[in-house]
Every structure is written in C-alpha cells, then in structure tokens.
C-alpha cells in the first residue's frame, strides 16, 4: 500500500484489467452509484465495446430511479452500453416472508448472483466486474452484515458456483477515495458526489418483514427525507419504515431513568417505547442485532421537547452503555402521534469513509418539516423519529 493518487490508480487498474481480460468480454453490474459507475468507466476505458453493462431493477429502488440511472449512464458524457433488466417479481418473491435482516440480505445476494449467472451464460461472459469497496468485504468478512457483492473474501468461489470470475478493481478503496477516482474520470457530479445507496436497496430499509404496503410507504417517505435533507449536506440521508409494534421489555424504568438524566426532563414527561423491529449494529467488532429504543420527551407544558443534537447523542451513549441489548436510539420529531401501522425514522449521518459515523446536526426546523410532510403525505404512518445513534454501536443502515 502506498499513498493514494487517483491518476496512478486509474493507469494501473486499466492496465491490469486489459492484461487480465485479453480479448474476453466482461459483464458489469451497474446500480447508478459511485462505486459501480466508476468501475464501469474504468473497465470501459480498458476494453471498450466488450463491456456489457446491466442495471437490474430489483423493485427495491427509489421512485423513478431505474429510468433515471439508465438514462444518465447511457448518455453523454459516459455513454456506457447499459441495459435494464426487470427482475422485480423475482426479487420480491425471494424476500417474501423473511423478517431477519441477515436472511433478507442472503436471499437478496442469492437472487442477485442467480440472475447474473443467467445473463453471463446468455452473453457468453466469463468475467463479472463489481464495484466492491473496502467496507463491503470488511463488514461481510467480520460477520457484521452480508453485502450482496462479496463472495471470494468469505470463501465462496464465484467460478465454481456461478461460472464466472470476479474482477474488483476498487476492493481496497474507501468511499472518499472512490469519489476522487470518479472525479478524475470526469464522472458527472450527480454520480461522483451521490450519496450511497445499499446494494439490496430499500429491502434493508423496510425493517423486518417486507410487504408491498410497507415498501410503498417507504418509497414516499424516502423521497420526502431526501428532498428535505439534501441541501443540508450530510454524507447519507434516508428514511426507514418499521412496524408500529412494541416489544415486551422489563427494564423500561431503567431506560426512563437514564434518559431523564441525560435529557434533563422529568420522568413524567418521558415516554419510552422498545420497538419490535430489530436493527443491526456493531459492538466491539462483533455483530449486534439489537433493540430499538424510541424516546419521546415533552416539556412541562406538554409540547414536544426539542433539545440540541449534542444532548440527544450523549443521552444515546448513556442509554446504550447503561442498558444492554440496544443498537439504536431514535427520538421523536413529529409533534403529533396517531394510530397507524408504521413508524418512520429519518437518518442522516456525517462520515468520511463510512467505517464510523455520527448523526448529522440537522436543525429542528428541517426535522419538523420532514416529520410534518411524512405525516401529511403517508396516511399509514403513526409518528416520525430521528436516529441519534453513532456508528458504532449502530451501523449506518438499519439492516
């Protein structure tokens, strides 16, 4: 490993890809994100027309995303030979009935490679290029969460199981370094600066069991959160949807006591829920699939208490350290709370490399605007929360 420089990196990778592929064709899985697009541009530079770019519509994409991505990748200045393959029904079926985060991720990965195996046979490609980056294999290998694009690093031979060899030019880079490469390759800013979107898409933001109704609510809520938070500049910002159901938990009193001390609010003004949905975390380099603590605090007058983010994050640290079993603390931001099937959480973080992160300091005006729009536009939602958990103990995504 030597100090990173985008130009040197590109030159070295293009040469390596050329040497490796010779006159072979290669397939690449494009999502429209910065990693896979950068990979596609690199490989396109190396082998030109012998690259086959495929965008899979899994059904777990955001509103309008498939068309937008295919248009951007296929047009000037990238001109990638991109085609869209509609696999919505198959992915939905593969995930139906699953509630556990890792089971969902593994089912997604299985379907992802089955689909590429079919395409590779049809296109006579013996190589699949993927935009796997360092956190992907680090987290999969460490057992924190299964990324959809990691096989060889955990001992699964792609060649034996799927009939193609993998090429992963970005495997040792972090997101900020990939962005440097993207800018060097003149990838348009709408992609080079785009916030990350998970490989399994919205399936990991529908916390627990996937249903069409829940997915539909999430798509709407995602759009609102993205529209409202983008200009505030967090590195990642999104919505998740959980079932509005409580878990039985015998230490709620303890949570109330800790939260009351941290927030400096009387115990009477506090309402703490332990949700049924679970969230992935990482504690001491070990995967933690923990509980979600949902905190509401009211002022003496009965209106929503709106403390600074510092107060919220230090209360989160106290809660997770003081009562074991939690990987998330979320704080209510919607003024009202009503009967509804789902609960929406907005998450926004600050990070460089996505290995550690802290909640972005979003002002209360923006938080209130987000929650009001979600309540107005998503009729099945009971209340809206903001995730105040750092990574660790949480991961960035909920699953």
């Amino acid at each position: 490993m030597s100090a990173f420089e985008a130009g040197t990196f590109v030159e070295k990778q293009v040469n390596e890809i050329r040497t490796l592929l010779g006159y072979e064709q290669a397939l690449i899985a494009c999502s429209g994100g910065v990693d896979s697009t950068t990979c596609a541009v690199l490989t396109h530079r190396a082998i030109g027309k012998r690259l086959v770019c495929v965008f899979i519509d899994t059904g777990f994409m955001r509103l309008g995303e498939p068309d937008r991505v295919v248009k951007t990748l296929g047009a000037e200045p990238l001109n990638l030979p991109i085609r869209l393959v509609d696999m919505r029904a198959r992915f939905l079926k593969a995930l139906a009935g699953l509630g556990d985060a890792e089971e969902k991720r593994k089912a997604f990965r299985g379907m992802f490679y089955d689909v590429f195996k079919e395409i590779a046979i049809k296109e006579r490609c013996r190589f699949l290029v993927q935009g796997t980056i360092a956190p992907d294999w680090i987290e999969t290998k460490g057992g924190i969460k299964t990324q959809h694009n990691v096989l060889e690093q955990i001992g699964i031979s792609a060649k034996e199981r799927y009939g193609f060899s993998l090429i992963e030019p970005l495997a040792y880079l972090y997101k900020d370094q990939v962005r440097e490469v993207a800018r060097y390759l003149k990838v348009p800013p709408e992609i080079s600066e785009r916030q990350p979107f998970p490989g399994p898409g919205l399936s990991v933001r529908v916390v627990g069991a996937v249903t069409e109704k829940k997915l539909e609510t999430l798509k709407k809520a995602s759009q609102i959160v993205e529209e409202e938070l983008e200009r505030l500049g967090p590195q990642q910002y999104f919505a998740v949807v959980l079932d509005d159901e409580d878990e039985e938990f015998d230490k709620v009193d303890r949570l109330v006591a800790v939260a009351s001390g941290g927030l400096k609010v009387s115990k009477r003004g506090l309402k703490i829920r332990v949700l049924k949905g679970r969230a992935t975390g990482v504690k001491g380099d070990v995967r933690a699939y923990g509980m979600v603590c949902a905190v509401t605090a009211l002022t003496a007058e009965g209106s929503l208490y709106k403390p600074s983010l510092n107060v919220l994050t230090s209360t989160q640290v106290e809660l997770v350290s003081g009562v074991s079993g939690f990987t998330r603390v979320v704080y209510r931001i919607s003024d009202e709370e009503r009967k509804g099937k789902f609960l929406v959480v907005a998450r926004a973080i600050r990070t460089r490399d996505f290995m550690t992160a802290d909640p972005a300091n979003i002002n209360w005006d923006a938080l209130s605007r987000v929650s009001k729009r979600v309540m107005d536009e998503c009729p099945d939602v009971s209340s809206v929360y903001y995730d105040v958990t750092s990574k660790p103990p949480a991961t960035i995504e909920f699953e």
Binding site: M1, G142, V317, V320, M355, T356
Partner: protein, 188 residues
C-alpha cells in the same frame, strides 16, 4: 519506513494501514503467524496490533505467533483496542468485561503527556468500540490516559517502546488520531 499492521480481524485494521500510508510510511496487513526473522527480513521499523472480535485472555491461543513475537521484538509496538488488551494480558495485567462498555464517542483524559500524546493536550474526544477492558496493570506497565467509564484508556511499558490504546486513533472521528500515529512513527 515499513510499519506493518498485524491483522487480528477487527473492522478498522485496514484503516490503520491507510492512516500510516497517508503519514508517509509503508504499511500492509500481516498475519499473526509472522516470526521475528520474517519482520527483520522485511525491514519493519515498528509494529501495530489492530482490534479484533476476540476476547482476552480466552482467545490468547488464537493469536498465532504473536505472543512469542512480542517477547522478542525490539522495534516500537502500538496495540489498539484488542491489541492493547492483549499487551496488557501478555505482561500480566487483567482484562474483564466492562461494567459500562463504550461505543462511539467518549472524552479521553491524558494523565501523562508522554511521547505518544505529545501535543495532544489534556483531553480529546476519541471513538471506541469495546465490550471488555483492562482493569489492572502489572508494575512494568503504567497508565497514560483514562475516561469517565474506563480507567485504562492508554498505557506504556516502563522500559520498552511498547504502547497500548483502548480507543481507535485510526478512525476519522477520533480527534488528533493522526498526531498520535505521527508521534508513534517518530519513535520507529
């Protein structure tokens, strides 16, 4: 200057290589099976032990040749997280499950402004991720820093260039992490 990182399987081990590289050293992840002659042949001027999902002292036998290597090595050593706990246990200290584990941010107070904390000041915010912690050190090790929840956030050997930190100076959220690595590299 070549300063490898012993890969103990933690989430940030590869980030340590990135940090050292950005500071002008040459680095890579190496296995726990490496011996002193291997290191000398490669010209290692220092050694960093990363974090790990393992637990001390129960997993001592899973650390390959590392205990042996620490007994012989002459170059400076920096242990991080589990690497720090391992060094403590190796010299006779005690690791236990933390009563109040630390995940994410915590303020670290420097007790001895030693070479490794040169220029850091009396306290800084560091990021941590640990279920266990060192609770007792033998006479040859001394405490360099603490936090509100953890008494031994950093330590050093009294006569050898061996250091341990419970927090993660390699992650971007730890203030002045690069300065701590710079201080370490100066010794190498």
């Amino acid at each position: 200057m070549y300063v490898p990182v012993v890969n103990l399987g933690g989430q940030y081990n590869h980030l340590i290589c990135r940090m050292l590289t950005e500071l002008g050293a040459r680095s890579e992840l190496i296995s726990t099976s490496l011996t002193l002659p291997d290191l000398e042949e490669r010209g290692a001027r220092g050694l960093v032990l990363g974090g790990s999902p393992q637990s001390m002292p129960g997993d001592l036998d899973k650390l390959g040749n590392l205990p042996h290597l620490i007994g012989e090595v002459k170059v400076p050593v920096l242990g991080i997280c589990l690497g720090h706990q391992f060094l403590g246990v190796y010299f006779g200290g005690v690791v236990q499950k933390a009563e109040r584990p630390e995940f994410g941010p915590a303020r670290v107070y420097v007790d001895i402004q030693d070479d490794i904390f040169q220029g850091v000041g009396c306290s800084f915010v560091a990021w941590l991720s640990h279920n266990d912690e060192l609770v007792r050190l033998p006479a040859e090790l001394e405490v360099l820093a603490h936090s509100r929840r953890c008494r031994i956030e950093a330590m050093k050997h009294r006569s050898r260039p061996i250091y341990g930190v419970q927090f993660h100076p390699e992650v971007v959220h730890t203030q002045l992490g690069a300065l701590i690595f710079k201080n370490f590299l100066k010794m190498c």
